[in-house]
C-alpha cells in the first residue's frame, strides 16, 4: 500500500517537472513514428528534420533557430489526440503532420481552436471540407488524384472493367469511394471490390477474388507495406494485371519490399523523388546522404512544408505571427525561384488544398520511371 502512494507521488512530480524547456522558434511534428503506417510517418519526419537542419545551418528563420519536437501518434487516433494536446501545450509556431488521415481528422479541431497552422500529410478527400482555417495539405487530396487516375485508366489503359483492392481505413475508404465515383462517371465497370485490413499479411484469398474477376485493370490502393504484400501474393498466384495505383503503390518503399513483383506497375504519382526535376533529385541525394535510405513522396511533403513556413514568415510577414501565416497561405503560390526549398511550384487554395504538377509513372526493373508529366490543374 505504502509503495503505491510513493509511486503516485514520484510519477506526478515528474509530470509537473516534465513539461518545461523554452526554445527559439518551436515547431512540432505530430505524426506516425510507429504503428501501421510508420513508413510514411518516418519519411515525413525525416523530410522535416532535413529541412530544419538545413535552415538552422543557414541561421534559422528570421535569425532564430528552429527547435523541433517529435510526437508519436502510433497511428492510433486516441493517442494522436493526446499527443496533439501535448504538442499544443508546448505552444509551437506551426505543427507538421499527422500523415494518417484518421489522425488528422480527430486532431483538426484542437488545432483550429489553438489557431496554430498545421501542415498535414493526410490525403483523404474530406479533410479540406471540414472548414479549418489552419489546415494545409502538403500533397494532393484524393479528389485531385483520383480523377487523374480515372482518366489514365480510360485513356492510356483503355480498360472497360476494373478490379479494386483497398485498405479499410480512412485513407483507403476515402480514396475508394472517390475513385468509384470517377469510374462510374467514365462508365468503367467495377467488377471486384475487395476490402483488406490495415497491417494485413495474408492476401491469398483477396488475390484469388481479384483473379476471379479477371478485369482489364487491377487498382491497388493501400499503405506501402500492404501494397508490397499484395503485389507479392499477386505475383505468387500469377495474377497478370495490369496493376494501376496511386502514389503509395509506386512509392520507393513499396518497390523495395515487393522487389521484382512490383515491375510493370503503372500509375499516377502526386510527388516522387524520381521526378525529372534537378531540385528534387538533389534533395533526394541530400536525404539519402543524411538518412541513408531513398525518400518517398512523404519525405518531400515534410521537407517542402518547413520551407513554405520559412518563406512566408520571412518574405511575407517579417515576424512570427500564426494568424497572419495562415491567412497568407490561402491562395498563395510559391515558386522555386522565390524559395528553392519548395522544389516545385506549389499553390494553396482558400481551403488549404494544394496544386502542383504531377506525374504518370511505371515501375521498370525495380525503379520508378516517369513516363509523363501532368500540368497543374490551375493551368
Amino acid at each position: 500500500m505504502r509503495r503505491s502512494i510513493f509511486a503516485v507521488a514520484l510519477a506526478a512530480l515528474a509530470l509537473a517537472a516534465g513539461t518545461a524547456g523554452a526554445a527559439d522558434v518551436k515547431m512540432a511534428y505530430v505524426g506516425e513514428i510507429s504503428g501501421s503506417i510508420a513508413v510514411s510517418g518516418g519519411n515525413f519526419r525525416d523530410g522535416v528534420i532535413l529541412a530544419v537542419e538545413e535552415i538552422n545551418a543557414r541561421g534559422g528563420i528570421l535569425k532564430e533557430k528552429i527547435a523541433l519536437t517529435l510526437y508519436d501518434t502510433q497511428t492510433n487516433p486516441g493517442v494522436a489526440r493526446s499527443q496533439m494536446q501535448k504538442a499544443i501545450d508546448g505552444d509551437p509556431y506551426v505543427i507538421l503532420g499527422p500523415i494518417f488521415s484518421g489522425n488528422v481528422k480527430v486532431t483538426l479541431q484542437m488545432v483550429q481552436q489553438a489557431e496554430i497552422p498545421d501542415f498535414i500529410g493526410g490525403e483523404a478527400a474530406e479533410l479540406t471540407t471540414l472548414g479549418s482555417a489552419y489546415l494545409f495539405r502538403t500533397s494532393f487530396g484524393q479528389q485531385i488524384g483520383m480523377p487523374k487516375i480515372a482518366n489514365y485508366i480510360r485513356d492510356e489503359l483503355k480498360a472497360k472493367t476494373v478490379a479494386l483492392i483497398w485498405v479499410n481505413n480512412d485513407f483507403g475508404k476515402g480514396g475508394r469511394d472517390k475513385l468509384m465515383k470517377e469510374l462510374a462517371a467514365r462508365n468503367i465497370k467495377l467488377v471486384a471490390d475487395v476490402s483488406t485490413e490495415s497491417g494485413q499479411v495474408d492476401f491469398a484469398a483477396d488475390v484469388v477474388k481479384l483473379k476471379a474477376a479477371n478485369a482489364d485493370a487491377v487498382f491497388v490502393y493501400s499503405n506501402e507495406e500492404e501494397c508490397a504484400r499484395i503485389m507479392r501474393e499477386a505475383r505468387k498466384q500469377g495474377l497478370k494485371g495490369p496493376f494501376v495505383g496511386d502514389t503509395t503503390l509506386l512509392s520507393q518503399k513499396t518497390i523495395e519490399l515487393a522487389a521484382e513483383a512490383a515491375n510493370g506497375v503503372v500509375g499516377h504519382v502526386g510527388l516522387t523523388a524520381d521526378a525529372p526535376i534537378p531540385a528534387v533529385t538533389e534533395f533526394a541525394q541530400r536525404f539519402q546522404k543524411r538518412f541513408n535510405y531513398k525518400p518517398d513522396h512523404n519525405g518531400i511533403k515534410g521537407y517542402t512544408a518547413v520551407y513554405a513556413v520559412k518563406y512566408v514568415t520571412e518574405k511575407k510577414i517579417g515576424k512570427f505571427d500564426r494568424k497572419a501565416l495562415a491567412k497568407i497561405m490561402h491562395g498563395l503560390t510559391i515558386t522555386p525561384q522565390e524559395e528553392p526549398g519548395i522544389l516545385m511550384e506549389t499553390t494553396w487554395d482558400n481551403v488549404g488544398e494544394i496544386d502542383r504538377i504531377s506525374f504518370l509513372a511505371e515501375v521498370v526493373n525495380g525503379k520508378q520511371n516517369i513516363s509523363k508529366v501532368l500540368p497543374k490543374l490551375g493551368k
Binding site: 510508420a38 479499410n168 499479411v201 484469398a205 484469388v208 507479392r232 505468387k236
Partner: protein, 292 residues
C-alpha cells in the same frame, strides 16, 4: 472450380505453417504445462536472426539461414526454458502465461528498437513461378511451403512414435511422475521439446516471412492463430494441432473469399468459442480425467 482449388492450396499452405507453430505450442503444453503467449513472436524473430546474420555479418543467405536456426534453437529453446519456464512454472500456469505476454512485448520492442519499425523484404526459399493444373494456377511457393511443413510435421511424428527418445518424450508428456519411475530422464525430455519448438518456429519463420515481409508485428496474428489451431485440434494432441492448423488455414481463406473479408478473423474465433464450449478437448483431443 479453379478458384476453389487455388484457395484450397493457398489455405493449406498457410495452414501448414499454423500447424508447425501449433505443434510446437502443444508440445510445450504437454510436457511442461507451458502456455506460450509469445509463440507468435517466436516465429517473427528467426527471420530477423537471418537478416542480421546477412546484414551485419555479411553471410550469404543459406549460411545465414543455418545460423538463424542455431540461434533460434538456443535462444528460443534452451534459454527460454532455463531463464523463463524453469523459475516460473512452480507458481502455476497463470504467472507463466503473463510472463510470456511480457516476453512477447519485450521481443517486439527489441526488434523495433534495434532493427526498425519498417517491414523488410526477405528472400524466398524458392523461385516464385507457377504451375497450371486442371485450369488452376498454383504458385510453386505455396506448394513448397505446404510440402515442407507437412514433411517437417511428418518427420516429427515419426520421431515421436518411431524412436525411443520420442516415445520417452510422449511418456513424459502423458505422466511425468510415471515416466520418472520408468527411469526416463524427464527434465532432458522436456528440454528436447523446447529445442524442437525452437526449430519448428525457425522453419515456420523461413516459410512465412518471404510472403509476410519481416516486421516486428508479424507475431501478433500468427500466435493467436496457432493457439486457435491447437485448441480446435486438441490441446493435448500433436495430430490435433496439425489438423487444426490445416483446417484453420483453409477455413480462413474460404471465409475471406466467400463470406466476408471484413469479418474473416471472426470466423476462426467463432469456431474457437464453439469448440471450447462444446468440445473442450478439441476435435481429436482426449478427455483428461480429473478427480476431486
Amino acid at each position: 472450380m479453379a478458384d476453389i482449388l487455388q484457395l484450397l492450396v493457398a489455405g493449406l499452405a498457410t495452414g501448414g505453417i499454423y500447424a508447425l507453430v501449433a505443434v510446437g505450442f502443444t508440445l510445450l503444453w504437454q510436457t511442461s504445462q507451458t502456455i506460450n503467449f509469445a509463440q507468435g513472436e517466436f516465429v517473427m524473430l528467426p527471420a530477423f536472426f537471418v537478416l542480421i546474420a546477412m546484414g551485419y555479418f555479411g553471410l550469404p543467405f543459406w549460411p545465414a539461414v543455418a545460423v538463424g536456426g542455431a540461434v533460434s534453437v538456443v535462444v528460443l529453446g534452451l534459454l527460454f526454458k532455463k531463464w523463463m519456464v524453469d523459475p516460473m512454472i512452480r507458481h502455476g500456469v497463470l504467472p507463466l502465461v503473463i510472463a510470456t505476454i511480457g516476453l512477447a512485448i519485450l521481443m517486439k520492442e527489441m526488434v523495433r528498437e534495434f532493427y526498425g519499425a519498417d517491414a523488410w523484404p526477405f528472400p524466398a526459399l524458392a523461385a516464385t513461378t507457377d504451375v497450371a493444373v486442371l485450369g488452376a494456377v498454383f504458385s510453386v511457393q505455396s506448394l513448397i511451403i505446404l510440402a515442407i511443413s507437412l514433411a517437417v510435421v511428418a518427420a516429427l511424428q515419426f520421431f515421436l512414435n518411431g524412436t525411443r527418445t520420442g516415445r520417452c518424450m510422449q511418456a513424459t508428456a502423458q505422466n511425468p511422475t510415471v515416466a520418472r519411475l520408468l527411469g526416463i530422464r524427464v527434465d532432458r525430455m522436456i528440454l528436447y521439446t523446447f529445442l524442437i519448438n525452437g526449430a519448428l518456429v525457425w522453419v515456420a519463420s523461413l516459410l512465412i516471412t518471404p510472403i509476410y515481409l519481416a516486421k516486428f508485428t508479424n507475431g501478433e496474428w500468427l500466435g493467436l492463430y496457432a493457439f486457435i489451431a491447437a485448441i480446435i485440434g486438441g490441446f493435448n494432441q500433436v495430430r490435433g494441432a496439425i489438423v487444426g492448423g490445416l483446417l484453420l488455414g483453409v477455413v480462413d481463406n474460404f471465409a475471406a473469399a466467400y463470406i466476408s473479408s471484413q469479418y474473416r478473423t471472426a470466423i476462426p474465433l467463432m469456431i474457437l468459442i464453439v469448440v471450447i464450449l462444446f468440445r473442450p478437448q478439441g476435435l481429436l483431443g482426449r478427455v483428461e480425467e480429473r478427480t476431486v
